[in-house]
Amino acid sequence: MGLLIGVGVLVLIALYFIGIYNSLVRARNEARNGWSQIDVQLKRRHDLIPNLVETVKGYAAHEKETLEAVIQARSAAVGAKTPGEAGKAEGMLGMALGNLFALSERYPDLKANENFLSLQEELSATENRIGFARQAYNDAATIYNNKREVFPANLISGGFEKAELFEIEIAAEREVPKVEF
């Protein structure tokens, strides 16, 4: 009888830890998914840029330098391999875009162009999305980190790596919406 109770208790404990383990896995996957959502949004931004450059070219073809800078920054961002590299490249891209939009101020026709306006809204929306994707990642990562650090989950969460939070923002990336004012 005593043995049975002992086994029962052990089974319950095992079930409890299985539950914790599964919730850790779920939280980790959510954090990972959050991370990949950031990439999705960055890619979206890259895809919008060629269109924008084409549109601007139609009105301000002689502003070669600025346009070139945007194209170069974009290909650098697309080709970036490591997160550090990507961060830097995205920052450069943001700066270049900022210059491009600042330049558009001098071309009333361009500023009135519907295509340009919609691209501008799309880009600033993408900018926001990048921000919100980071925010969602941070939320998911915080939940995950909390889960793996609290007792008794910390007894079995050795194989679960701590998720890094996005504390450093790539500052220049935020320049696109700013230029809208």
Partner: protein
């Protein structure tokens, strides 16, 4: 943060269970008028539950479409209203919903919005044309964040379940009372012939129950609805990281809500961001309203003190109402999250603000995520000469660190930091604009030459 939501869901679950008990009791009370046998009475209770399940199935089956149809909502695509679409997309990302809800527009001058969808995968958000006309982008974002909060918290499922229960209780109670009035006399004389004092007592209890239960059920339902409304506000503030957007939207909605929305019924009322049926004034804190008073919601959102997480909302709620709204035991575990107002706008967003370098575009374009603070509110601490660098009081250390780091990044990319002599705001100027920025964009004051 979802720990709080979960503990709240549990509490809401209790309310639903309590309503279910009430429903069963009503079923038993009706049966008690015909036969006071416990077994038969139990059967009556089960019958009441079955009625509820049938009603629930009818509502749930295509309930979303019925509601959208009733409201006259039309689904739109990106090209019809890109700003609305983008805002919904952004909030979907922020809430980490599996899928973007469908977007609907209701052609109605009264500004309002609602969400439907028991399943976050099949949800929809609808806003009125009046809302789109009234609000700017940040406010729209606040409203959409609130609606997405309803979806994320699964309020639609909860409130439909509870609402159908109220409906079943009201319906049964009415049937029971009518039966009693029309046939009660004969039955009573017969039961007195049999001389059962206990039976008479059961009858009295049954009648009382039938009289009181609709009221009780409705009170419970309204309390539940108001609580979920607060929770959606909290989620909305968290998703947008900008409580002020929702607060100022609610203010505008309250001011303009002279004409109630056409074609809304009591059933659908709780789904809206502001109560569509009630007048703006008139007993805001009533026990019989589906929504908390607007002024109270605005006040709570505004007392979040530069934070945007659910914990800050809870603290603000406690300050305004004197009690808690979300589960408390998990709050300590979650990190404070600064709101955008404190984090971004206080110093960084000011550059292109009113009268800023590119102010000409403003107005013609929707406001973007990073905007100047609407007014030099409390987050602009006026710093005298020699005062420490401007820092909003509630800024947690983690976000201070983030700001220092981001400033370092900015300076590395050639930005120049200059503090305004008058209002203390730090203006961060990109290299391309250095010669053009000479005055503080917020207060037009002179800028110091030194860095931060």
């Amino acid at each position: 943060m979802w720990e709080q939501i979960r503990s709240n869901r549990r509490r809401s679950g209790f309310v639903v269970v309590a309503m279910g008990v009430l429903l069963v009791a009503v079923g038993m009370a009706i049966t008690a008028m015909f036969a006071q046998d416990p077994g038969v009475m139990l059967l009556g209770g089960v019958a009441a539950l079955v009625l509820w399940i049938v009603l629930w199935l009818v509502t749930v089956h295509g309930g979303d479409d019925i509601m959208l149809h009733m409201a006259g909502a039309k689904e739109i695509e990106h090209k019809h209203h890109p700003v609305l679409f983008n805002v919904v997309e952004e909030m979907t990302i922020a809430a980490a919903l599996p899928q973007r809800p469908r977007v609907f527009v209701v052609d109605d001058p009264s500004p309002n919005a609602f969400a439907v969808g028991r399943d976050p995968k099949k949800a929809a958000v609808a806003v009125t044309t009046g809302l789109l006309r009234t609000l700017d982008r940040d406010e729209l974002q606040g409203v959409v964040a609130h609606e997405i909060g309803h979806i994320k918290n699964r309020d639609v499922a909860l409130l439909t379940t509870a609402g159908v229960m109220v409906g079943a209780i009201v319906m049964l109670a009415e049937i029971g009372l009518r039966t009693f009035w029309y046939s009660g006399g004969g039955r009573r004389s017969r039961s007195s012939n049999e001389g059962g004092g206990a039976q008479a007592a059961i009858m009295v209890v049954a009648i009382l129950l039938l009289l009181l239960s609709p009221l009780l059920a409705q009170l419970m339902y309204f309390a539940l609805s108001r609580r979920r409304e607060h929770l959606a506000d909290a989620s909305g503030a968290m998703f947008s990281r900008y409580p002020e957007g929702l607060a100022s939207a609610l203010e505008k909605l309250g001011g303009r809500r002279a004409a109630p929305l056409a074609d809304t019924s009591k059933v659908t009322a709780p789904m809206y961001i502001v109560a569509p049926l009630r007048k703006a004034s008139g007993g805001g804190g009533s026990l019989f309203s589906t929504h908390p008073p607007l002024e109270e919601r605005v006040r709570i959102l505004r007392s979040m003190g530069g934070s945007a997480d659910v914990g800050a909302y809870d603290a603000a709620y406690r300050k305004v109402k004197g009690r808690r709204i979300v589960g408390t035991h998990t709050l300590e575990a979650s990190q404070p999250i600064p709101s955008r107002q404190a984090d971004d706008d206080a110093d960084r967003g000011g550059l292109f603000g009113e009268g800023g370098m590119l102010g000409a575009v403003e107005g013609a374009r929707p406001r973007s995520r990073i905007r100047p603070a609407p007014s030099p509110g409390p987050e602009v601490s006026p710093a005298g000469p020699g005062a420490p660098p401007m820092a909003p009081p509630p800024l947690p250390p983690s976000s201070r660190r983030a700001r220092i780091a981001s400033d370092a990044f900015l300076q590395a990319s050639g930005y120049v930091m200059r503090r305004c002599v008058d209002c203390g705001a730090v203006v961060k100027i990109p290299p391309s604009l250095q010669e053009r920025v000479t005055a503080c964009p917020r207060c037009k004051g002179d800028l110091e030459g030194q860095g931060e």
